[in-house]
């Protein structure tokens, strides 16, 4: 005991020094790189600030100009069309709305305010919404520095507004913490209906709120034993001043030397009640003596257990009383600290016997700032839009665990950012999802699957040179493209590095999130569509073969044609088709063929993939066959560019061109039996829980009874296991040997997955609930 005590005394001054260096020397000398922090300040408006005990969170709304690739059909009625180009590709500037949230230590607040003032060019903003315990303390400073009037907002209602916002807009916002699992963070699929829930905010005290809807919440209770008790009592007991240091002490301690355990009273377990011997019977029960020294570590640990257990117990009692099963924890006591998340989780598990899970939020620290911001931005009505986390501009979840990877140690004490882009379209669930609340788009969770993570991170890093080259090549007229591409490379490589050590940074790590992050980074450096020219060329070539392909298909017998059509879609998806003998890796073609002999489907929703051969010679012939059968077709393509996927803009032009050659397509368009919709996404993968609202409406109106998903990104990396309430067809060729191996096949294995919902005869699958 004594040796232990002595050691802790030795180490603590060093730690305290570190703390001092952080907060006192850096605040004066810090220079803020505008490229990285407080971005887009020129147009910033609607500021909000949340000042806590040690961290300040600033929020503002800004507009971002960025380049977007647009395609425009040439006017074929004039001679101008003599050009050999299929369509005109132009890069235009588009202005989109972005929310910026920045978190920094209170020590930097003055520097930051100065910086903002200097960079704020023109703003109509007159007030700044403020919340948090420190808002009062810094009121005068803010008003003087920014010349804005501070408008205080209630903390609790800001937290809840913020909480609703992140739960609605950020997939994988909430997670369960499991210390000893393969991945510490187990992200939750977002139930489209986020209400009701319990929010337990552990600040200096504890507040417990029941949230029933966007506007309805009630503070149902609380406790005075909270983070302030841990900090205050901890400081008295251990003479350690900083909260983080107290947690560090606790992480090294043994509570059993301070606490009286059941086994200290019983000698073993209290079998009759099923209380195990290691259970704490009396916190600090062993320290009721004057003649014994206790180590700081042990006392801190005991204190942490005492407070976490107490909060967990109260949370459970409130959850039970109000019959709530979703309980989110936030506040500075939690704030990403693995230790407190662990002890709270343990407590909740103990008291509810696993019936209630303790849930934590990736952006917990930002809730107050987001809420305050939303209160000030009501006239812009941010809640009317869907927002998406920008992976390029957001820091991601950082664990503050002391033995974490060095990169983030260096980052703590600086700045953390969250950026959210306003999406053009409002996103909703595909109405045909069997169980929206349990739908998981991704097939492999790389957060949990270490070998898969290893492989894919390597894969993306390996492919980076090629992507950079392609990006530069896509902008031959822009000499600075090489510099930008280099910046892109650094940014994306840095993201990959971070994800290697903190795969949970942006929620579950998946092939989709790796692809999306790359797209976000490319956009960040103004490479909106590196594949635009390639796509155009391929589309042009494919169009020239369209009639020939259609003609040869027409010449086939019905049965041969059905097979050829399927082969066409699969072949268009891969460069080297070769002879793929059946049975395929996954092969339900026979059932599909049987089904085709039956009555036509009412309406097919087709999620398309690549440009060129795939869409024109693979998908379009299938579309015309479906139309000929009497099935309406909805073609869903990406809203924005991703790799060589065909975008909605491109597809519009291509379809017109095909319609000019093909009366079936033409009449389909004319009679509104062929509809083109955008899917609301710019990803090479597909998240059926975040689709364009208009698409969902069409799907519902047309009583869609068949969903076809093609390509590796949409049918294998995502949605391979998705269950729909109607018939579905998932088609892909596996163009990656690792993945093929995983699925038990070889490179270029074919997946043909035709599924009919269980217990539903396929004929009746058309019946949809409105």
């Amino acid at each position: 005991m004594c040796a232990h005590y002595a050691r802790s005394v030795e180490t603590s001054p060093t730690m305290a020094e570190c703390g001092r260096v952080d907060s006192h020397t850096m605040d004066k000398s810090i220079t803020l790189p505008p490229d990285e922090i407080f971005r887009n300040l020129e147009n910033a408006k609607r500021f909000a600030i949340d000042i806590g005990g040690s961290l300040t969170k600033l929020a503002y709304y800004s507009t971002v100009k960025h380049k977007v690739a647009k395609v425009r059909s040439f006017d074929h009625s004039t001679k101008e069309a003599a050009s050999d180009k299929l369509y005109e590709i132009s890069v235009q500037e588009e202005v989109t709305a972005r929310l910026h949230f920045i978190k920094f230590e209170n020590a930097y607040i003055e520097t930051c305010l100065d910086f903002i003032k200097d960079h704020l060019v023109n703003t109509e903003t007159k007030v700044i919404k403020a919340t948090g315990g420190g808002a009062h303390k810094f009121k005068v400073l803010i008003e003087r520095k920014l010349g804005l009037k501070v408008d205080k907002e209630d903390e609790m209602s800001c937290l809840i507004k913020g909480c609703n916002f992140v739960l609605k807009n950020i997939p994988h916002e909430a997670f369960v913490y499991a210390k000893h699992a393969d991945s510490e963070f187990r992200f939750q699929t977002t139930d489209p209906d986020i209400f009701p829930y319990l929010l337990v905010n552990i600040g200096s005290g504890v507040s417990i709120a029941k949230v029933e809807s966007e506007d309805k919440f009630e503070r149902i209770g609380g406790s005075s034993i909270g983070g302030g008790t841990f900090w205050g009592l901890g400081a008295l007991l251990t003479k350690t001043k900083r909260f983080d240091e107290l947690l560090q002490l606790a992480s090294k301690g043994q509570h059993s030397s301070v606490d009286m355990l059941v086994k200290d009273i019983y000698g073993g377990s209290y079998g009759y009640l099923g209380l195990t011997g290691d259970l704490i019977a009396s916190s600090f029960g062993k320290s009721a003596t004057a003649d014994k020294e206790f180590s700081k570590e042990d006392m801190a640990k005991s204190l942490l257990h005492m407070i976490s257990n107490d909060i967990g117990q109260l949370a459970c009692l409130y959850a039970r009383l109000h019959n709530l099963s979703r309980v989110y924890f936030g506040g500075f006591f939690i704030r990403g600290h693995p230790l407190t998340m662990h002890t709270i989780t343990y407590s909740i598990n103990f008291f509810t016997k696993g019936e209630v899970q303790a849930l934590f939020l990736r952006h917990e620290g930002y809730l107050g700032a987001i809420g305050a911001f939303l209160k000030g931005a009501e006239e812009d009505n941010p809640n009317q839009y869907s927002w998406g986390e920008n992976y390029a501009g957001s820091s991601g979840l950082m664990s503050v665990s002391p033995d974490m990877y060095p990169m983030q140690r260096a980052r703590s004490g600086t700045f953390d950012m969250l950026e959210m882009d306003r999406l053009d379209r409002q996103l909703v669930n595909l109405p045909l999802l069997q169980e929206p609340s349990s739908y998981i788009p991704d097939t492999v969770d790389l957060t949990e699957d270490a070998p898969a993570r290893e492989y894919w991170l390597f894969c993306f890093e390996d492919a980076l040179d090629g992507v950079v080259k392609r990006a530069v090549a896509s902008q031959p007229d822009m000499p600075e493209a090489a510099v930008r591409a280099e910046k892109f490379r650094q940014k994306y490589r840095h993201k990959l590095q971070t994800l290697r050590y903190q795969p949970f940074a942006y929620g579950s790590l998946t092939v989709r999130s790796l692809l999306d992050t790359r797209e976000h980074c490319l956009n960040e450096f103004n490479f909106p569509d590196p594949y635009s020219k390639i796509k155009e060329r391929e589309n042009d070539v494919a169009l020239k073969y369209y009639q020939k392909v259609v003609k040869s298909l027409e010449e086939l017998s019905w049965e041969d044609r059905q097979f050829a059509l399927v082969r066409g879609v699969l072949a268009g998806n891969v460069f080297d088709w070769g002879a793929k003998a059946r049975p395929w890796l996954v092969d339900s073609y026979d059932q599909w063929l049987e089904r085709l002999k039956g009555p036509p489907h009412k309406c097919a929703l087709l999620f398309v993939d690549n440009s060129g051969v795939d869409i024109i010679l693979g998908v379009m012939p299938l579309v015309r066959e479906l139309l000929s059968r009497g099935t309406e077709v909805v073609l869903a393509s990406n809203s924005g560019p991703a790799l060589n996927d065909v975008t909605n803009g491109e597809l519009q032009i291509l379809t017109e061109r095909i319609a000019a050659m093909d009366p079936v397509i033409q009449s389909g368009l004319r009679d509104d039996r062929l509809t083109l919709v955008q899917n609301g996404s710019s990803s090479p993968c597909l998240d059926l829980s975040r689709l364009d609202k208009a698409l969902a409406m069409v799907v519902r109106e047309r009583k869609t009874d068949l969903v076809i998903i093609e390509g590796m990104g949409r049918a294998i990396h995502t949605n391979y296991f998705a269950t729909l309430s109607c018939e579905s067809l998932k088609l892909a060729v596996i163009k990656n040997s690792w993945l093929a191996d995983r699925l038990g096949g070889k490179l270029f294995s074919v997946v043909f997955k035709y599924e009919v919902p269980a217990g539903k005869p396929s004929q009746e699958a058309a019946v949809l609930t409105p």
Binding site: G221, S224, I280, G285, A288
Partner: protein, 389 residues
């Protein structure tokens, strides 16, 4: 299952259910002890027969006599053993015998001294069964055997607790009322202790505050369940006080607490909001963060040990109050009985609990207390000796 009121109408108390004729043969021979070995204190109840006949007197072995004399003629044993004379129940009829019930306690860490004494007094020669409950009955079973040659009859502590509470409440007819409450708990000037007639006790929430806390919902004499418990109990109060103030006894800690001011240590709602937090109906005087002011170095340096002791007492007490209140709501029980040695000479905590129950439940919940606070487990053990269930 016997209902207490029924048994009274039968002309006997529930404790007096020994079948006549059986008494002498079936029940144990003297001495009659009940023991509760807790994490901090050992509680011992001893029945001193006052109706010993001359014949019996003659038969009574010397060892038994000596034990009786030792226990009844002293009020302190060794350096730490104490007989709570004010709690003694006189002229009690137990299993057909008249006598006095004595209440004795000593710290659990002095159990070896007790065992040594038992050995010196040749306790084992009496061939009595020693009924014991509490965790120590299990933990020290072996020590009883090896050090004092005594065989323990181990009993569940919650069974004993419930039995003891119901018994003591039923036999208290004369003298000060066993059960009491505080009238006007939210008005310090008019808050007074009043007797309470626990006539129809069920259902009741029984909160036992020892080193830790157990909360039971009692629906009838034989039907109860442990609702929950908390490790923040009397042991926590004393343990933290010892660390924070250097004190070493419960009495010392309470004494300091009575002189301190917790508002210097705790952060109140008004410290944050300048007054009431009206939006959520939180009064300014409510504690927002226990020990919250101690986050500041200056304030840490300005508080006294007494303030810290008071804050510890208030923190632990309020927390028990708040968990109890939630349990009462969840179990839909309006009457709460607080027992356990944490409440011994601790009017401060009792008033706080009475206040908290009344205020936060808007008068719905009533906090009740029992004079024999910490002895019910031991009483239950004694009853088990006389009437095995």
């Amino acid at each position: 299952m016997r209902h207490r009121r029924d048994s009274r109408e039968d002309g006997e108390t529930s404790g007096d259910t020994c079948r006549k004729g059986q008494t002498q043969t079936m029940t144990s021979s003297f001495p009659w002890f009940g023991m509760d070995i807790g994490g901090t204190l050992v509680k011992l109840v001893y029945f001193e027969p006052k109706d010993i006949t001359a014949e019996e007197e003659q038969e009574e072995v010397e060892n038994l006599k000596s034990i009786r004399r030792y226990l009844t003629s002293n009020i302190a044993y060794g350096t730490t053993g104490i007989r709570d004379v004010h709690l003694e129940l006189q002229d009690l009829t137990l299993c057909g015998r008249k006598g006095n019930l004595h209440f004795i306690r000593f710290p659990t860490h002095d159990l070896p001294v007790f065992l040594q004494m038992g050995r010196n007094k040749h306790f084992s020669s009496l061939h009595t069964t020693l009924c014991a409950t509490g965790g120590g009955a299990y933990k020290f079973e072996n020590d009883f055997r090896t050090m004092a040659d005594l065989q323990l009859h181990k009993l569940d502590e919650l069974d004993c607790l419930v039995r003891g509470v119901l018994y003591i409440d039923s036999v208290m007819s004369s003298g000060p009322s066993e059960c009491y409450y505080f009238e006007n708990p939210t008005d310090p000037d008019h808050c007074v202790q009043k007797p309470y007639l626990l006539e129809n006790p069920y259902p009741l929430l029984l909160v036992n505050i020892g080193s830790g806390v157990s909360i039971l919902a009692v629906y009838s004499e034989n039907n109860y369940k442990r609702v929950t418990g908390t490790s923040l109990g009397g042991g926590t109060f004393l343990g933290l006080c010892c660390l924070l103030t250097g004190c070493s006894t419960f009495e010392e800690a309470l004494e300091m607490a009575s002189e301190g001011e917790s508002t210097r240590v705790d952060k109140l709602v008004r410290d944050i909001y300048g007054g009431d937090y009206e939006r959520f109906g939180l009064p300014g005087w409510a504690v927002a963060s226990s020990f919250g002011n101690m986050m500041s170095k200056e304030k840490r340096e300005s508080v006294s040990k007494e303030d810290l002791a008071r804050a510890t007492l208030v923190t632990i007490t309020n927390n028990i109050g708040s968990i109890t209140r939630m349990c009462a709501l969840n179990e839909n029980i309006e009457r709460v009985v607080f027992v356990g040695n944490f409440l011994r000479v601790n009017t401060l905590s009792m008033k706080l609990l009475a206040y908290a129950m009344d205020y936060w439940s808007k008068g719905q919940l009533k906090a009740l207390f029992l004079r024999h606070e910490g002895y019910f487990g031991a009483v239950g053990a004694l009853l088990e000796l006389l009437h095995p269930s």
